[in-house]
């Protein structure tokens, strides 16, 4: 009997503990750690949606930062008060200047715009096989950056848009993240999702069972872009400042890197990858300013955290190419199965968990004893 087979154990690890952390962060908004947890939530949306394209459908998109930018600017324009827009973005049409929508609606409109742009570039590109999509999406990032930096009247140019209202609370972010994960999870389990993985595994065989590759690719790409747009809107309102430089190639690459480390073909991989990529760089940050270890003062290692993250990526690619989670879906499976939740009410589940833990401890102590002898 393994620990992970216990539904109660799954509940504690994947539901209860995250929930407690989220609740604590929700009530201590503004603190540094709450900000990090929020960033983790946004990363989950970004990486999980990228996995739909890169992991489950076998295409390779690098363009998530561009879709984020579209979502972030759209949400900003739709939620900022008119006097602010008149100063920073006077070139907007009048109806847009005076339009203010509720934040969730603005997020969704941002997502739809991102999906629409995905449709525009996906339609010519995705009809071909091969890595045309990666190249086209890198191009898209450059184009979006150029537009954001140069359309002074519409976007306030390279100065960016500041003073975004802080609507992206922990509740909103994790609400959106759970909804996105749920949608992706159901999508992948449906016949649509099976079609996607069939296309990834063998496109000739996929065609012979009647899968329309073009519509499959484009629709997956658009769904993914939609979620990236929503994540962009969340990110902008969390940071309260957006400008072109935040949505450039390095940002996109970081999302791709997270996806590879966690496991491209797994939604749970998106969660694990985001967890590592959000918190490890923060843990490593003291290295850059110099720390004392056992009385020895280390010099200031600028760029150390980037270096270590890059090394981590290389190690993962060499030793575990499918990413940390591989093809496993244990987290999403536990999160969205009724069994996990009903286990809380069952006495037998508690007994089972106790038995497993007792067994593990016994095993461990006997191992220690045999070593001692």
């Amino acid at each position: 009997m393994r620990l992970r087979d216990s539904n109660l154990f799954r509940f504690i690890i994947f539901v209860l503990i995250p929930l407690i952390v989220i609740i604590i962060c929700g009530f201590s908004s503004g603190s540094y750690y709450a900000g990090l947890v929020n960033l983790f939530g946004i990363n989950v949306i970004l990486v999980a949606s990228l996995n739909l394209v890169n992991g489950f459908s076998g295409m390779f998109s690098m363009g998530h930062a561009a879709f984020m930018a579209i979502g972030a600017y759209a949400a900003a324009i739709l939620t900022l008060p008119a006097n602010q827009k008149l100063i920073s973005m006077p070139g907007l049409p009048e109806w847009l200047i005076y339009m203010r929508l509720p934040y969730p609606v603005a997020l969704i409109i941002g997502g739809i715009l991102a999906a629409f742009v995905a449709l525009l570039i996906g339609f010519p590109v995705l009809r071909f096989k091969g890595h045309y999509l990666s190249v086209a999406t890198i191009g898209l990032i450059v184009i979006v950056r150029a537009v954001l930096d140069n359309e002074d009247e519409l976007t306030n140019g390279a100065r960016g848009v500041t003073g975004l209202p802080n609507y992206a609370s922990t509740w909103t972010i994790f609400g959106a993240a759970v909804i996105c994960l749920f949608i992706l999870y159901r999508l992948i389990r449906s016949s649509y999702g099976r079609g996607l993985t069939a296309m990834r595994d063998d496109y000739v065989a996929a065609q012979t069972i009647g899968i329309n590759l073009t519509t499959k690719k484009i629709s997956a790409f658009c769904i993914s872009a939609f979620m990236a747009g929503v994540a962009g809107g969340l990110w902008g309102h969390m940071q309260s400042v957006i400008s072109g430089k935040f949505f450039y190639i390095d940002a996109s690459f970081k999302i791709v890197e997270t996806s590879i480390i966690g496991g491209m073909s797994s939604l749970s991989g998106a969660v694990v990858g985001s967890l590592l990529m959000t918190f490890i760089p923060e843990l490593l940050a003291p290295l850059e300013t110099g720390i004392e270890v056992f009385g020895i003062r280390l010099p200031e290692l600028y760029g150390a955290s980037n270096l270590i993250m890059a090394a981590l990526l290389i190690v993962i690619i060499i030793f575990r190419r499918q990413g940390i989670m591989g093809y496993s879906e244990i987290i999403t499976e536990s999160l969205f199965s009724a069994k996990t939740y009903s286990s809380v009410l069952k006495k037998s589940e508690y007994k089972k968990l106790c038995d497993i833990v007792a067994h593990k401890i016994k095993e461990l102590s006997s191992r220690v004893k045999s070593k001692g002898a």
């Binding site: 063998d202 012979t208 899968i211 329309n212």
Partner: protein, 235 residues
């Protein structure tokens, strides 16, 4: 049921099929025989829409399907079992079979087809939740055929079902094809294994470097001295 008129196909600038014509009648099993590189696979791929024809037409039940895209051709009832057992190795057998019914919406039809496949290939039922990549070569071919049957085919295109199989497995695959024939499924069988193919089929076409050089009843062709010499290893 299927009519091919003066079909030609090019790969880049090289024409590999030279204006060939073929007919398949309902309920018939037709074999297409030829050496390596004769263009057999090209014929199947063009019928199922994976390749585009240069000229000529393909009519299926009187409807022109030459320019249709592959998923619409599958929907109209032509199912291709591709060469080399292209199954989805990382998925379970059940998922593979379910994918075969990808375009089917009617649950009762899917259920009936599942039962049909299980009665033809009991081994697949036993290993339903096993990964398809763990099956032996012959079993993978059974799965590929089973997957195609779940698409509810009116016309089944079989590309070298005996390729790379042991003689015993080859016999098994051919006996399955025989029982499909008894059920009245129309089939176009591409084979290098000419003797077996002629034994089992009603009629046959012989393809040589993109031209059909001979056609007729299989029982007649099997006696034909030229065929014997070229394909059956006889003297």
């Amino acid at each position: 049921m299927l009519e091919i008129n003066k079909l030609s196909v090019k790969y880049d600038n090289i024409r590999v099929l030279h204006y060939i014509s073929m007919q398949i009648r309902k309920g018939e099993m037709v074999a297409l025989i030829g050496a390596n590189g004769a263009g057999k696979t090209t014929v199947l791929r063009t019928i199922s829409g994976l390749l585009k024809a240069e000229s000529g037409e393909i009519l299926f039940e009187g409807k022109d399907i030459t320019k249709m895209s592959s998923h619409n051709i599958v929907a109209s009832g032509i199912i291709h079992v591709p060469e080399g057992r292209q199954i989805f190795t990382k998925m379970t057998i059940e998922e593979n079979l379910k994918l075969g019914a990808y375009l089917q919406r009617d649950r009762s039809v899917i259920k009936r087809n599942f039962e049909k496949v299980f009665s033809l290939f009991p081994i697949l039922k036993q290993r339903l939740h096993q990964q398809a990549g763990t099956l032996s070569g012959g079993e993978q071919q059974m799965l590929a055929i089973g997957r195609a049957l779940l698409g509810n085919p009116k016309l089944l295109l079989l590309d070298e079902p005996s390729m790379g199989l042991s003689p015993i497995m080859t016999q098994q695959v051919f006996s399955v094809l025989e029982s499909l024939k008894k059920e009245g499924i129309t089939m176009l069988l591409v084979e290098q294994n000419a003797y077996e193919a002629l034994e089992i089929s009603d009629r046959a076409y012989i393809l040589e470097t993109g031209n059909i050089t001979l056609e007729g009843r299989s029982s007649g062709l099997i006696q034909d001295p030229n065929v014997k010499k070229a394909y059956l290893g006889g003297d």
